[in-house]
């Protein structure tokens, strides 16, 4: 009680200083007068009476001081005073202040920016959803590659696995929607099992959630709206509940709910509909669901869930070998599934890189503060001599560095917001708002907390060494030496050199990391993928099921589309078929004539097979080595044909003509027709980040029973970007109901980015930026230390020159001071980068993590920067005029 009351009173007093001081003045005046009168009565003289009164009081100022301390917040008063003092000092040396703040702002800014991105990628998961870390995303893998999810597999996982509170599943659906408001429009729906929202702990804000009866065959169609869609299309009209929509011409669908604002799962849908297992979906080999997801039950570890589901998977393999051979259920975290298996590593490496930048920043600012502290040694010693405690001095210096880092933090926030925005624009510009559902780069309170924490950390880290150093000085020597005594002290120089060594080492590690990533990127970008990617556009089309369910309709559509696109002036050729980096070619079992009978799946003989249309190789710019590519004669009525790549030909028919050879592919266990090799084509690399040349076979679109989505490619003699509009126009002129799922993209752009939605280029650029910042800061740091030391040693240099030292000797003297620690830092940095770069290995294409060329280039760059950094002050030292130098001071 009393304590609280006293605290309140103290805070209150803190804000009423002036009034309280006036009152105290008056009270003390009364005191002196009363005492003087007493003394006068004892017979003293007036002067003596006053003197005695003052002595007994203990002086007016000290009395005021104790009064202030016991009534207010003396500690806080001191801090306010220190801050004021610090700001005044900073104003007096603007050069130092601007340098320190700019350095700190960069360090803090890039850290906060990378934190924002990393947080979104690694820790955030779905917005609004609680305990994202307990959600696992499940799909089947075959040969280590994503193979989708089959509805029947999912049902077995759900009924047999005990590790989960529940498992749901998701499929994407493009829809044509028709409601009372007018003409049909295309939207995106997500099909989910009825339990999905419950697993995500989300409820509609309006209407009801899906009920278990909503996703069984024959249930009345219902839909739940995304808030965004409800807002845009229905202006948040609550009366939408209960109304009906027409989706893809099915029976009327009733709207039953609206989800909360900002909620989306998994991304960018306008509405959700229950995933009702159709006849097609019930086929076990139809793995066309996107993914399944489960919430782990309390106390279940991810390891246990994985073991259990893999057991279920093996059971299914045994029970259904035809469809499930080699299909392994795989459980992944949000980051692994939606971002990629290397995400933790890559974003961790990014974080590490800016961590290094941060350390370099701190080292630089520490050096600046040390230099400044030495310039102030006389002032500080004087303050100590006048009775300031060591702790008081330390606090003063720490507050100065905290003020610097605080201001740096404010500017850092600006840098961070700008950086995050730039990153957002650079990554996936084509998706724009889409990706925001998955990756929310908002700089929220967590980013703010992180920024505040690192700002304070930087302030303490930078201020500590100078503060400790200064408060420990022997003030006698300092005062006697006129402020020069402490400057040449070996310990201070030692600390500076250590900081330089550290900075250089960190910069080397960053440079080496960026270097190998650039090499790897160049390898990837300039690699011969077997195609000419320039001036080529690609896009993925979706044929709606209803209108194009018949095979003939699909084939005729693409035939007509090809003909139409080729009439666009400037288009050289158009073709359908998978572009490089457009996806992973599916694998099929196969056999050659003469191999004897073969059971699919047992021989392990599989080959990547791609379905293509006529002119595919011409459009991509691949070379047909022998024979021909497919043409219009390879239709249903034609002879079953196949084109193989050179690798396939040389593996199976070395030294023989491949043309005319025969092979057949399997559909599960069923063999297809015998195919005749009609052409051999140069090797095309489909995964540019792997760059493996694998045996491949190409099948003519006209002869494969495959429909649905196809990539369409065009080649032009001019930059392809100008053809986007006419491409869209021709497609919609042919059939306005055909949605373009992806694209049109430039093939060259896709390859440069490292594939669809690839981020390799962006990461390389980021590493390069961070490394450049590191190099720049380290050079500036080196320059600052040497320049300062030269200015401190002007007198010494003057004496040396007066005693006969040549300019060359002085140059050597100064250069050695910079080159030596840089050299040591270089060695340490190189050693460290051997270890650190190994982390990047998974992301590197055809370059060793300790690539000697890169390391040599990096070392040369650094030596140049270090020489430059020390040469400028060294030249100044050489021009020292001994007469001036000795008189200086």
């Amino acid at each position: 009680m009393t304590t609280l009351r006293e605290a309140c009173a103290r805070v209150h007093s803190f804000f009423r200083k002036r009034k309280l001081d006036l009152e105290l003045d008056e009270e003390l005046a009364a005191h002196i007068e009363l005492a003087t009168q007493d003394h006068l009565r004892q017979g003293m003289s007036l002067t003596e009476a006053r003197r005695r009164a003052l002595i007994k009081l203990g002086g007016i100022e000290p009395s005021k001081e104790v009064h202030r301390e016991s009534r207010g917040l003396p500690w806080f008063d001191g801090i306010v005073q220190d801050i004021r003092y610090a700001v005044r000092g900073m104003r007096r040396s603007p050069g130092f202040t601007v340098t320190a703040i700019a350095t700190l702002a960069i360090g803090i800014g890039v850290n906060a920016a990378v934190f924002t991105v990393t947080k979104a990628v690694l820790f955030q998961g779905f917005r609004l959803v609680e305990r994202n870390d307990r959600l696992l995303y499940i799909h089947s893998q075959k040969d280590g590659q994503y193979s989708g999810v089959s509805y029947t597999d999912f049902q077995d996982w759900r009924t047999q696995a005990r590790s989960f509170d529940g498992i749901g599943t998701v499929a994407d659906l493009r829809i044509t929607l028709n409601d009372k408001s007018g003409f049909p429009e295309r939207y995106t729906a997500t099909q989910i099992t009825a339990n999905a929202f419950r697993l995500l702990s989300q409820k509609p804000i309006l209407g009801r959630d899906f009920a278990p009866s909503d996703d069984i065959p024959g249930a009345a169609p219902v839909a739940i709206l995304n808030y965004r869609f409800w807002e845009r299309r229905y202006a948040k009209d609550p009366a939408i509940i209960g109304q009906t929509l027409q989706i893809n011409g099915t029976p009327p669908t009733t709207v039953i709910g609206v989800m909360p604002e900002g909620f989306s799962f998994p991304q960018n849908q306008d509405l959700w509909v229950p995933l009702v297992p159709t006849q097609d979906l019930q086929r076990r080999d139809a793995r066309n669901l996107w993914f399944a997801f489960g919430r782990m039950a309390d106390g279940v570890t991810r390891e246990r869930a994985r073991t259990e589901l893999e057991t279920v998977g093996r059971r299914l393999e045994n029970a259904y070998p035809r469809t499930n051979q080699g299909q392994v259920p795989r459980l992944e975290s949000f980051t692994e599934f939606f971002i990629g298996p290397n995400a933790t590593l890559i974003y961790g490496a990014l974080w590490g890189a800016v961590g290094f930048v941060f350390l370099i920043v701190c080292a630089n600012v520490t050096n600046l503060l040390l230099a400044r502290a030495i310039g102030r040694s006389r002032e500080i010693s004087l303050r100590i001599a006048l009775g300031a405690g060591r702790w008081r001095i330390m606090r003063q210096l720490l507050i100065e560095s905290l003020v610097l880092s605080g201001v740096g933090g404010v500017f850092g926030w600006g840098i961070a917001s700008w950086g995050v925005r730039a990153y957002e624009l650079a990554t996936n510009p084509q998706i724009g708002e889409w990706s925001r559902d998955l990756l929310d780069y908002t700089m929220d309170y967590r980013v703010l907390a992180y920024l505040v924490a690192i700002s304070i950390g930087a302030g303490l880290l930078c201020g500590l060494a100078p503060a400790l150093r200064l408060s420990r000085w022997n003030l006698n020597t300092v005062l006697k030496d006129g402020g020069h005594g402490a400057t040449g002290s070996g310990r201070r120089k030692g600390l500076s050199s250590l900081l330089i060594i550290g900075e250089v080492a960190l910069a080397i590690v960053l440079l080496a990391g960026a270097g190998v990533m650039i090499r790897s990127f160049l390898n990837m970008a300039t690699a011969d993928l077997g195609v000419r990617p320039e001036n080529t556009l690609e896009m993925l089309l979706h044929l709606p099921e209803g209108k194009y369910s018949r095979r003939e309709a699909q084939i005729s559509f693409f035939d007509r589309l090809k003909a139409r696109l080729e009439t666009i002036p400037g288009v050289q050729s158009a073709a359908i078929g998978l572009p490089p980096a457009g996806g992973i070619p599916g694998r099929r079992s196969y056999e050659l004539t003469g191999d004897g009978p073969l059971v699919a799946g047992q021989s392990g003989l599989t080959v990547a097979a791609v379905t293509i249309g006529p002119d595919y190789f011409r459009t991509l710019g691949a070379t047909v080595r022998s024979g021909r590519e497919f043409n219009n004669s390879d239709g249903i009525s034609g002879v079953p044909a196949v084109v193989v790549n050179q690798r396939f030909a040389s593996e199976h028919w070395p030294g023989e003509a491949a043309l005319g050879q025969r092979l057949r592919l399997f559909n599960g266990e069923t063999p297809g027709a015998w195919l005749t090799v009609v052409g051999v084509v140069s090797n095309i690399v489909y995964a540019p980040s792997r760059q493996e040349i694998t045996p491949m076979v190409y099948l003519p679109y006209g002869q494969t029973p495959r429909g649905g989505d196809m990539w369409i490619l065009i080649r032009t003699p001019l930059p392809a970007g100008g053809f986007v509009t006419s491409l869209r126009r021709e497609i919609s002129a042919l059939d306005s109901d055909i949605p373009i799922w992806l694209g049109p993209y430039s093939l060259a752009d896709q390859l440069a980015a490292g594939g669809l939605f690839g981020n390799i280029r962006n990461h390389t650029v980021l590493f390069l930026i961070f490394a450049a910042i590191a190099l720049l800061l380290a050079s500036i740091g080196l320059y600052a230390v040497i320049a300062h030391s030269v200015s401190q040693r002007t007198r010494e240099i003057g004496i040396r020159m007066a005693l006969g030292a040549k300019a060359r000797d002085i140059l050597k003297l100064v250069l050695r001071q910079g080159i030596l620690p840089s050299g040591i830092g270089l060695m340490i940095g190189l050693a460290a980068s051997f270890a650190v770069n190994r982390v990047l290995k998974a992301e590197l294409v055809q370059v060793s993590p300790s690539d000697p060329v890169t390391l040599a280039a990096v070392s040369a760059t650094l030596i140049m920067a270090a020489t430059l950094g020390s040469l400028i002050p060294a030249r100044r030292a050489m021009r020292v005029d001994p007469v001036v130098a000795l008189r200086y001071d």
């Binding site: 009393t2 009351r5 006293e6 009173a9 103290r10 007093s13 009152e23 105290l24 008056e26 009270e27 003390l28 009364a30 005191h31 007068e33 009363l34 005492a35 009168q37 007493d38 007994k56 009081l57 203990g58 002086g59 007016i60 000290p62 009395s63 104790v66 009064h67 301390e69 016991s70 009534r71």
Partner: protein
């Protein structure tokens, strides 16, 4: 002479001020200082200025209150008086002091080889 004066223990001044105000009623700062000096027969080393720090402390804890008034010789001065909470505080502090004094007395008078 000054060497032999007693240094005041931390917190004792506050209790002295409270007790003075309880027995003497409202007093100004100088009056309190004089009173304490008289009672201690000038045996304590009192920096009169510290009285004011003590007064502001006691005031903030709500044990005394202050009001401007006029002294005997017509001088405007601030007068302090004890509050109810202050009186309660004096009682507890007093009994604490007495117990502590008794214990100190016993400890200090016990002979080295005493079998107490």
């Amino acid at each position: 002479m000054a060497d032999s004066k007693l240094d005041l223990l931390q917190g004792t001044l506050d209790l002295m001020v409270l007790q003075t105000l309880e027995t003497m009623g409202a007093l100004h700062g100088y009056g309190i200082a004089r009173r304490i000096e008289q009672l201690s027969q000038d045996q304590v080393l009192l920096n009169q200025g510290t009285i004011y720090a003590s007064l502001v402390r006691l005031q903030q804890r709500g044990w005394i209150s202050a009001a401007w008034g006029v002294s005997d010789n017509n001088r405007k001065a601030k007068f302090y008086s004890i509050t109810k909470a202050g009186k309660r505080q004096v009682r507890t502090e007093k009994s604490n002091w007495e117990r502590l004094a008794a214990v100190m007395g016993r400890v200090l008078t016990a002979s080295a080889g005493g079998n107490e």
